[in-house]
Symmetry: C2
Subunit: 214 residues, 2 copies
DNA sequence: ATTAGTTCTAGTCAATTTGACTATAACTAC
DNA sequence: GTAGTTATAGTCAAATTGACTAGAACTAAT
């Protein structure tokens, strides 16, 4: 499952969106579902996740991490299915390249209807994990481009945590992180004082299964 | 994989131990490995983990949670294997009931030799997760019995985090948690002032896949 | 019975961090 | 120029943390 930032229709502020695909077969034909597909014999879990993502939505995420393995007995009405779910964050430029079509569409993460299988549960859990990681960790930057303003970082936090944060206090905390690098550039074109641009220099922590390739 | 507290041979202080089983077949015949086994068609992931644990070691953990799904291509030299690993915490009384034998033995978690497959990697990751959960969360109590002293809780933290903590400051923090209930009982039999006994009233967070059973 | 040794437990105090807020800087639009 | 807006720095009290002191309550030894 993929998270990306898109401006809200009404307020224009960035909010969390996820792409879903429409089921064209039973079970749950016609309902929306998370993109996914089978694990083949010759690819790692992460590679399979990447590949399925690319094939269904055309997306190539900058951040991909294992979420959870779902294996309850009645997840699918027709057969026993074990799904090892990955979650991804994509930057706005990437997200814009997604193949939207009749059967692939973006939805606001907080306004989903009933989805196929247990996919509502999965998304709920992913949102919970995202909020947790955000509170302690350096994950917000993967939803932004290479250069960003501190106000943009704050907007990401506000979108994910769903509450407003004090701008001054927020920047004090963020600037204390050593992974945030100040640049000499400023974002021009706004209707007010141009904010300084920063960049993120930290590397995402590798998943344990992908640390060593033989 | 299972964690339990056992007194260190030398200092007598509680340290982390895990039970391993000896491989009696190729590959890695003779080496020690994590207990495990196949997932059958009619059981959930968590049920399979419980069952395999019981069958190999006789243990029934009070805390069981999914760790990670390992699915690298070369984990086993003979075939492609995907392992959905669970980790458990057992209380000392339970741990004492484990079936030790020629092929099942407890080892100190920080003094393991070379294990079969990628099991060293898995244990390393589990230790990392345990430390993380300990720092923020109410997990330490599942390694203790129903009643415990605050000094025992501190010893758990010290064993897992591998550093000493100030007794006075530690109890101030722990007592601030609402899940810690003071009792009117005291632990007798020590060579000093008897400490008050406490109990833990929180419930462990359910895994997302086991929240709803149809 | 007294004393030494141990851990338990409450408390103090300075240093650090957090949250609420104020004020100035630097731009655009009119 | 002036009003409007966001960026950014700074202040100050409240809350939290870390280092430490000291008395309480027990056992063991004399």
């Amino acid at each position: 499952m993929i998270f990306a930032l898109r401006p809200s229709e009404r307020s224009g502020r960035p909010t969390l969106w996820i792409p879903l695909v429409r089921r064209i077969r039973e079970p749950f034909k016609g309902l929306w579902a998370l993109p996914g597909g089978p694990l083949t014999h010759a690819e790692s879990l992460q590679d399979a996740a990447s590949r399925n993502l690319r094939e269904t939505t055309g997306l190539a995420p900058s951040y991909l991490e294992q979420l959870y393995a779902f294996g309850g007995l009645h997840r699918s009405p027709t057969q026993r299915v074990v799904s090892i779910v990955y979650w991804a964050l994509v930057q706005p430029t990437e997200a814009a390249l997604a193949d939207e079509s009749e059967n692939v569409r973006w939805f606001r993460a907080d306004r989903l209807g009933e989805l196929a299988f247990d996919h509502n549960t999965i998304i709920e859990y992913a949102l919970w994990r995202l909020r947790n990681k955000m509170a302690y960790g350096s994950i917000a930057y993967h939803l932004l481009g290479e250069y960003f303003t501190l106000a943009q970082v704050r907007e990401v936090y506000e979108a994910v945590l769903d509450r407003e944060l004090d701008p001054a206090n927020f920047r004090r905390q963020i600037k204390a992180a050593p992974e945030i690098q100040e640049t000499d550039e400023y974002l021009q074109g706004g209707k007010h004082r141009p904010p300084r641009l920063y960049r993120f220099t930290g590397r995402p922590g590798l998943d344990p299964d992908n640390r060593s390739t033989p």
